[in-house]
């Protein structure tokens, strides 16, 4: 796991990419791979790599090339089935110099061309430079576990794992893109290729983009999620499907636990998904391993008792950290430095602290349960949507909405006010039950309400240059999927790819040089889950039904049966207490608001005042409304994004980078191993 960066020149007037620029670019993201650095440079391209050594520690240096030196790669991620692919390629006559998965990509591309991507089971972002054809191939894994951004201007194409590496070139202009902000304050993330920065594109998950020597590119999706057609009979009984899922998940976990030349640990949240993954990891490892958990000062978010129960069953070497509101406020600017986009929840912050702890114990890779809720319908949104769907058949029914009491037993005990209001919320858009987006309507409309804080300039730009709508680019077959499949698709392409595995995943882990490995996002597991009939996943209102069957008998029953607790952290309340850090006031001051120009400063000042007075009496995070929580965290993080990336000085690496692999075809200077590249 690593960081990549580089630039290609598509006009001949440019001098070759400089080593200084490659140094600056990779230096800006050195935390992604502090073990080794490498660069490749010719007259038209420069590639840089920061390596977190996990597989083939001695032979996997990058940039790496094919046998005749015409193809060069920088790669971030893992191809978990590289051993099987290597054998297949060897039988086709390919010879390998290393034991690395990186080399497998190069040969796979030579052997299978554009069909190679579907052969990879893994998590990747890579850039492949064809020096003969002067062609750049950029690709990301199916679901977007590993990030990749690109900027094209002035006859050049820059690319990197993170935007800050691209911004380290003074030639690249920096400004916010109102379309990316519009999407973020609707879907919780910008939708690739749009980003929150003008001119910066995110390579979409599951896609390939190929630039030719003149800078014209072709892009296509080699994969996108696809769900079962309910009219087709499904061949497996639920009992048989449970066995198949168990085997596939076990295999996916084994690959991720064992295909590493360093020890792999596991996260334990206290929920079903990470418990099962950790248990399977333990089965694969056949020995002790390390587990890590987050605990909260705030009882409403804490799951300590379940974590301890599972850790003791696993007999793991267990570590945890206790996170408070002030910890969250303290690290939040660093968190935003890594997310590189506004966020509506503070939930990434504790994960930032957790990866720090993981690294302190010398662990470079962890398994997590990420993806189970999307693949097997774990979220409340799916259950709410099912009830709303059912309610929509008789919108005047007083009985049908009572099903919400089964979902949220507290509603049955609540005073009418809470129940009535909650029902009114779910009743939104009931008449649109047959239209795409029905499942997500209430979430998107609640989130969109924060846009009223945008400045006139931003709103004007949004109306003249509207952001692409996720519903405008649905796959053709969307209409034949079951409503659950439709909702899962929308959840995957918005929240999972754009927020959970990036802002809450890759970025928080890589900030401390830790690689996340996600068995539920294994390509084989995803395909199998997506093909399951809806009622194997959501049985009446029982979420992740089939996964509970898999877990039955191996995970403590209290964990299998417990009410699902979504992972959350204290939001607005972290920033409004008497000891709120000074930067919060600075970022929300009239000056800072006017300087960024993103928000209506008078409105934000009043809103901040409201939050501060609420903060004086509030004792629990839940006393802030969902809208206020999202608005405060969203506005504060957007202000920080502006402060850090637009107004701030360009990222630069204070520490000298020592390139242990350097192939310089411009100054005919070539070295492998220990010679330093001095700048």
């Amino acid at each position: 796991m690593c960081g990549i960066a580089g630039v290609i020149h598509t006009e001949n007037r440019h001098a070759p990419p400089s080593a200084e620029l490659l140094h600056a670019m990779i230096g800006a993201i050195r935390y992604r791979g502090p073990d080794e650095f490498g660069l490749y440079r010719d007259h038209h391209a420069g590639l840089a790599h920061a390596r977190l050594s996990i597989i083939d520690l001695s032979g996997g240096q990058q940039p790496m090339c094919n046998e005749d030196g015409s193809l060069w790669i920088v790669f971030n991620g893992e191809i978990f089935n590289y051993i099987e692919l290597r054998k297949e390629l060897q039988s086709l006559g390919h010879r390998f110099r290393t034991q690395s998965d990186t080399e497998v990509i190069i040969h796979a591309y030579e052997a299978w061309g554009n069909d190679c991507f579907l052969k990879f089971n893994g998590q990747w972002a890579f850039a492949l430079w064809d020096a003969k054809e002067r062609k750049l191939v950029l690709s990301r894994d199916r679901i977007g576990v590993r990030p990749l951004f690109v900027r094209q201007a002035h006859g050049k194409v820059w690319f990197a794992s993170e935007v800050k590496a691209i911004f380290s070139d003074p030639e690249v202009s920096r400004s916010m893109d109102p379309r990316g902000l519009d999407q973020t304050f609707t879907y919780w993330a910008s939708l690739s290729p749009v980003s929150v920065f003008h001119g910066i594109e995110e390579i979409p998950p599951g896609s390939v983009r190929v630039y030719d020597s003149t800078g014209v590119y072709r892009e296509w999706l080699y994969w996108r999620p696809s769900y079962a057609d309910p009219r087709e009979p499904y061949p497996l009984s639920i009992a048989d499907a449970t066995e198949v899922l168990r085997d596939k998940l076990m295999h996916a976990t084994e690959l991720r636990m064992l295909r590493a030349d360093v020890p792999v640990g596991s996260y334990l949240s206290g929920g079903l998904d990470s418990s099962l993954v950790a248990w399977m990891g333990g089965q694969a490892k056949k020995g002790r391993f390390q587990t890590f958990s987050l605990r909260f000062d705030d009882a409403e978010f804490d799951e300590t008792s379940f974590q301890k129960l599972m850790a003791s069953q696993l007999d793991s070497s267990h570590h945890d950290i206790l996170v408070s509101r002030s910890d969250i406020a303290r690290v939040f600017p660093e968190v935003v430095w890594h997310t590189e986009r506004p966020i509506l929840r503070t939930a990434p912050a504790p994960l930032y602290l957790l990866s720090q702890e993981v690294r302190r114990f010398g662990i470079k890779a962890v398994l997590t349960g990420e993806g189970a809720d999307e693949m097997l319908a774990g979220y409340d949104l799916f259950r709410e949507s099912k009830i709303r769907q059912f309610w929509s058949h008789q919108p005047e029914s007083k009985i049908r909405p009572r099903l919400f009491e089964r979902l949220y037993p507290y509603l049955g005990r609540s005073p009418n006010q809470a129940k009535g209001m909650a029902l009114q919320f779910w009743k939104q858009g009931l008449e649109k039950a047959r239209l795409p987006g029905f499942s997500h309507g209430p979430r998107w409309s609640t989130t969109s309400s924060i846009k009223r804080f945008f400045s006139g300039d931003i709103r004007q730009n949004m109306s003249t240059n509207p952001a692409p709508d996720v519903l405008a680019s649905l796959p053709e077959e969307f209409a034949v999927w079951d409503p659950l499949g439709q909702a899962q698709y929308l959840e995957v392409v918005t929240l999972l790819s754009g927020y959970l595995i990036s802002s809450q995943g890759d970025r928080m882990l890589m900030a401390h040089s830790v690689e996340g490995r996600f068995p539920f996002l294994d390509s084989d597991v995803m395909e199998f889950c997506n093909g399951l009939p809806a009622d194997y996943k959501l049985r009446i209102l029982d979420e992740k039904h089939i996964l509970k069957r898999v877990a039955h008998g191996v995970i403590p029953e209290q964990i299998v049966r417990r009410q699902k607790q979504p992972y959350r952290a204290p939001d607005a309340i972290s920033f409004v207490g008497p000891d709120a850090p000074e930067y919060v006031h600075e970022m929300l001051s009239e000056n800072a608001l006017k300087e960024s120009g993103l928000f209506d400063s008078a409105a934000v000042l009043k809103f901040h005042q409201k939050c501060l007075s609420k903060g004086k009496e509030a004792t629990a995070s839940a006393e802030f409304s969902n809208s206020d929580n999202m608005a405060l965290v969203g506005i504060l993080s957007a202000q920080l994004v502006h402060h850090l990336f637009i107004k701030g000085t360009r990222p630069s690496s204070k520490d000298r980078i020592v390139f242990t692999t350097a192939i310089d075809r411009v100054s005919n200077y070539q070295q492998h191993a220990v010679q330093e590249h001095r700048l």
């Binding site: 209001m421 009114q424 209506d600 008078a602 409304s625």
Partner: protein
């Protein structure tokens, strides 16, 4: 002195604008506060508590349904009748 329907409407409108809109933007009195995303279900509780304090009333459980609170016009009408009823 008896408070008029208009006065109730003005007070409610101004509270909602000051505490939920912040931008000075006008709101349509007929528009659903929950449906438009102006106020969420926790936010409505803030409105109810404001009404109790400002008008010195208390609500029974059966009155606390979305039909009475989901727009400025609904709140205005509901409060007018409630205050009139209590004044009798």
């Amino acid at each position: 002195m008896k408070i008029t329907r208009e006065e109730i409407g003005l007070k409610v409108m101004s509270f909602i604008k000051e505490n939920f809109i912040f931008t000075g933007q006008e709101i349509n009195p007929e528009e659903s506060l929950l449906g438009s995303g102006t106020i969420d279900s926790t936010g409505i509780l803030e409105v109810i508590s404001f009404l109790e304090q400002t008008f010195g009333v208390q609500f029974e459980d059966k009155e606390l349904v979305a039909e009475n609170f989901d727009s400025v016009a609904k709140i205005q009408s509901f409060m007018f009748h409630k205050l009139a009823g209590e004044g009798d």
